[in-house]
């Protein structure tokens, strides 16, 4: 058991305690949290910084405004409902379209029909604070539903795949693609059963995937190979992520980016407590990359320079050893 701990340390794996004590508490002052915890505010800040985000159709701030839902989505075919202060993808509804047969009904990404009344109840729950981190009353966002890029069509089941990038002190440190599965109900969260695939920072090419801490080569639902996909506009994605630091000033930051078919990479949300599963997806420890960034750190570097540094410093180390890892597991 202690041998394992030693090996993990050698591999530069970051643990939850260390993440909380050394990174989140040291680098993320609490007063900055609203910038990422309130997605309405995040969106405003990102727009101000010139970053591309999904369009906001409307915000529902209290129970009375729940009634305005139908007006907000009147001219929309598809949209996403999410709590402003939600965490871990909880409380998000992806509406893919309107029902053809039933009036006042919508179709979820999974194909299940949902009535207006049910959506309104969901909105009330969000406003009531069921999904907010603190349990306080919350706001509900209704925004553009991303039509994702065909790159990942083969390796996604229904929902929207996204790219999660950990940005340490402004430098992109590690990235993964999160691919929804049937089990994850179209959500791109690893703990809900989505597949995570590491990304080669220098090329933007995907590595093998991880499902529930186990290495997988193929998507469990579609059977397509996960590794070797090229993420489009990778340079721009890295730069956007690096710019997230200027927007939030958080030293340990998770930036979630989706790639829209028409509009390119969009910042979906940012996270002050990004999880550690990304290490499993990349099969690389974060701690070692963080140490390297501390060595290279230059406070005056521009987001473009920092993204370039990341491309140069963090090429994939496991491009060809996946077979070995499988054997070990």
């Amino acid at each position: 058991m202690f041998a394992t701990a030693k090996k993990l340390r050698e591999a530069g794996v970051l643990g939850l305690n260390e993440r909380n004590a050394e990174f989140i508490m040291r680098l993320n002052p609490r007063r900055l949290y609203p910038r990422v915890d309130d997605k309405v505010l995040t969106k405003e800040l990102a727009i101000k910084a010139g970053m591309a985000v999904p369009d906001l159709y409307g915000v529902i701030r209290n129970q009375r405004e729940v009634r305005t839902f139908e007006d907000i989505v009147e001219s929309r075919e598809s949209f996403v409902v999410k709590p402003a202060q939600g965490s871990g993808g909880d409380g998000i509804l992806v509406i893919a379209g309107r029902s053809q047969r039933k009036r006042d009904s919508f179709r979820l990404a999974s194909g299940v029909l949902i009535s207006t009344a049910e959506i309104e109840h969901h909105l009330s729950n969000i406003v009531g604070g069921q999904y907010s981190l603190s349990g306080n009353p919350d706001k509900a966002l209704i925004e553009y539903c991303v039509r994702f890029d065909p790159t990942f069509a083969e390796v996604s089941y229904q929902g929207v795949p996204d790219v999660r990038i950990i940005v340490y002190r402004g430098y992109p440190a590690m990235a993964m693609v999160r691919l929804p599965t049937r089990a994850s109900d179209g959500k791109a969260n690893l703990h809900q059963g989505a597949v995570g695939a590491g990304v080669d920072m220098s090329t933007g090419q995907t590595l093998t995937g991880v499902l529930d801490n186990d290495v997988v080569d193929e998507h469990p639902d579609t059977g397509a190979l996960i590794a070797g996909l090229n993420i489009p506009q990778w340079d721009f994605i890295l730069e956007s992520a690096a710019r997230g630091y200027e927007v939030t000033e958080l030293g340990y930051l998770g930036v979630d980016i989706v790639i829209d078919r028409d509009r390119g990479p969009l910042i979906l949300e940012m996270n002050a407590r990004p999880g550690l599963n990304i290490q499993i997806a990349n099969r690389t420890g974060l701690a070692s990359r963080v140490r390297r960034i501390d060595e290279l750190h230059d406070a005056d570097a521009s987001p473009e320079e920092r993204a370039a540094t990341a491309r140069r410093e963090f090429p994939a180390e496991h491009g060809d050893v996946s077979g070995q890892n499988l054997a070990l597991l």
Binding site: M1, T4, A5, K7, L8, R9, E10, A11, V13, G15, L16, N17, E18, A21, E22, Q63, D90, G91, A117, E118, H121, S124, N125, G128, G129, Q130, H191, Q192, G193, V210, N213, D214, V215, Q279, I280, R283, T284, G285, H318, V321, Q324, N325, L328, L329
Partner: protein, 507 residues
């Protein structure tokens, strides 16, 4: 930098906590375990006399130096007498005085002592006694006897033993016979002995006291011989010459002075009665602390009203539960609902017993969850829904109690002790997790909560620990410092070792 402050603070807290603990334990004698009882003897002396016409003054010698014993308390009862304690040549002297009194008088003096082997209160080293003035024919007898014994002995103890053996010889030599002809009582005998020792320049005196043990209505003081060998006092049995003290011998007074002097009274009688009780070691320690004038005890939990004490004996275990919680969460890495929910559940388990507690808790949560899923269909707003869950939980508790009562299962009634708000919140949280993350996650977290609750229950139920914390609340400082240190523990959690094992394998 912060790391260093935390270490410093933790060390400081530990030192403060441990030193108060050590002081109370080693110096004040607080017991480490709960059932420590100490026998305490109460010796009551009753003085009877008939009052004379004038003013009355009563002097009674009372215990001063009591090797092997400590005085817990002493007090006196008398009617209308002025009382004072003085130090005289023979030790402490209790004095009662009154201007006038009528008829038979009774005065009580009572002292409670407990055994303490470390209480070796040493007396001062006495000067060499002057050679006693003795008249013939005793003078020759003494001289012969002493020089005889002196020749056959090496030091003070052997001299004393031999002398005593000669004096107690069943067929005594003429010198001893002559000396013993004047002896009428055991105290006379001991004064003869001191005189003999004094003529060889050995300091000696009589000690009078009581071998303690059981209950004695009328205890007679026993006289022993105390001899100073130049270094310390030694005790000899005047009847055999053996060097020892009777078991549990409480020294009441020393010397040839009479125990009691009454001026202005007649028909004086002193009776002693001895009683043995068992007293909680804590109260002895308290009394000692009070005598030592230490203020540690001003803050003692034992001074609180009994009911409040009962409350605190439970409350003081919560830090233990918190410690378990911290270990399970940050060192092991178990998922649980709510930060301190398991600790509160563990508190409820204390009342219901573990097995019943688990059963009732699972039953309650399972029933609550199913009703919560029904409520979900009604699409209630958040706060009313939480309220509804709470009401349902209360009704379920009532139902379980009623059913248990009907079936004659007393323990089922204790379901009322569960913190209902906590259970309602648990049900709500569990149902949200169930919907969002699936049954597996909800069950895992629910099971994790129960595991932590059971471990906290076990830790909080350890009677010795409860006593320890209650008697030495300063140990909470040590627990606090452990928690602080764990707050800076940045190593892997135990369950992370399996979670990240793919990374360890790949190097």
């Amino acid at each position: 930098m912060k790391q260093r402050y935390v270490y410093l603070l933790a060390i400081l807290l530990t030192i403060v906590g441990m030193s108060i603990f050590a002081y109370k334990w080693r110096v004040l004698g607080f017991p480490l375990t709960a059932d420590q009882e100490t026998p305490v003897w109460t010796i009551e002396s009753t003085v009877h006399f008939d009052s004379g016409p004038g003013s009355i003054k009563v002097n009674l010698l009372v215990p001063t130096l009591t090797p092997g014993f400590r005085v817990l308390n002493d007090n006196q009862v008398s009617r209308g007498y002025g009382f004072s304690l003085n130090y005289g040549a023979g030790g402490r002297e209790a004095q009662w005085a009154v201007r006038r009194a009528d008829g038979a008088q009774t005065i009580y003096y009572r002292v409670s002592v407990f055994e303490d082997p470390s209480a070796d209160q040493s007396d001062t080293t006495p000067p060499f006694p002057p050679a006693p003035v003795i008249n013939e024919p005793f003078r020759t007898a003494v001289d012969v006897l002493v020089s005889d014994v002196d020749e056959q002995s090496a030091d003070v103890p052997s001299f004393t033993t031999l002398l005593l053996r000669r004096m107690n010889d069943p067929s005594p030599d003429p010198n001893v016979e002559l000396l013993m002809s004047e002896v009428e009582s055991s105290s006379d005998y001991v004064s003869t002995l001191t005189m003999l020792l004094a003529s060889n320049r050995i300091p000696a005196r009589a000690v009078h006291g009581f071998p303690l043990g059981g209950r004695q209505r009328r205890a007679e003081p026993v006289t022993w011989l105390e001899v100073h060998d130049g270094d310390r006092w030694r005790y000899f049995n005047p009847a055999t010459g053996e060097e020892n003290l009777p078991d549990r011998f409480l020294v009441w007074w020393r010397g040839d002075e009479s125990l009691i002097r009454v001026e202005g009274g007649s028909n004086v009688e002193v009776d002693f009665a001895i009683q043995e009780n068992h007293v909680d070691a804590v109260s002895i320690a308290k009394t000692q602390a009070a005598q030592a004038g230490t203020r540690v005890f001003d803050l003692s939990l034992y001074d609180l009203p009994i009911q409040t004490q009962a409350v605190y004996s439970v409350l003081l275990m919560i830090p233990i539960g918190a410690l378990v919680m911290v270990v399970m969460r940050n060192i092991i890495g178990i998922d649980a609902f709510g930060t301190f929910m398991p600790v509160l559940i563990a508190l409820a388990f204390r009342e219901t017993q573990l097995l019943w507690g688990l059963l009732l808790f699972t039953l309650l949560v399972a029933l609550g969850l199913s009703i919560r899923f029904l409520l979900e269909r009604l699409r209630l707003l958040l706060v009313p829904r939480l309220g509804a869950v709470l009401i349902v939980v209360v009704m379920l508790m009532l139902l379980i109690s009623l059913v248990a009562n009907e079936l004659g299962m007393e323990t089922g009634l204790s379901v009322a002790l569960f913190p209902m708000v906590i259970i309602a919140m648990t049900i709500e949280r569990m149902s949200v997790v169930w919907e969002e993350r699936g049954m597996g996650d909800a069950m895992r977290a629910g099971f994790g909560s129960l595991v932590v609750a059971v471990l906290a229950y076990i830790a909080m139920g350890m009677a010795w620990l409860e006593h320890l914390i209650f008697t030495f609340p300063e140990l909470l400082l040590v627990i606090l410092s452990i928690v602080l240190l764990m707050g800076r523990y940045t190593g892997y959690r135990l369950l992370e070792l399996t979670r990240f094992k793919a990374l360890a394998g790949g190097g």
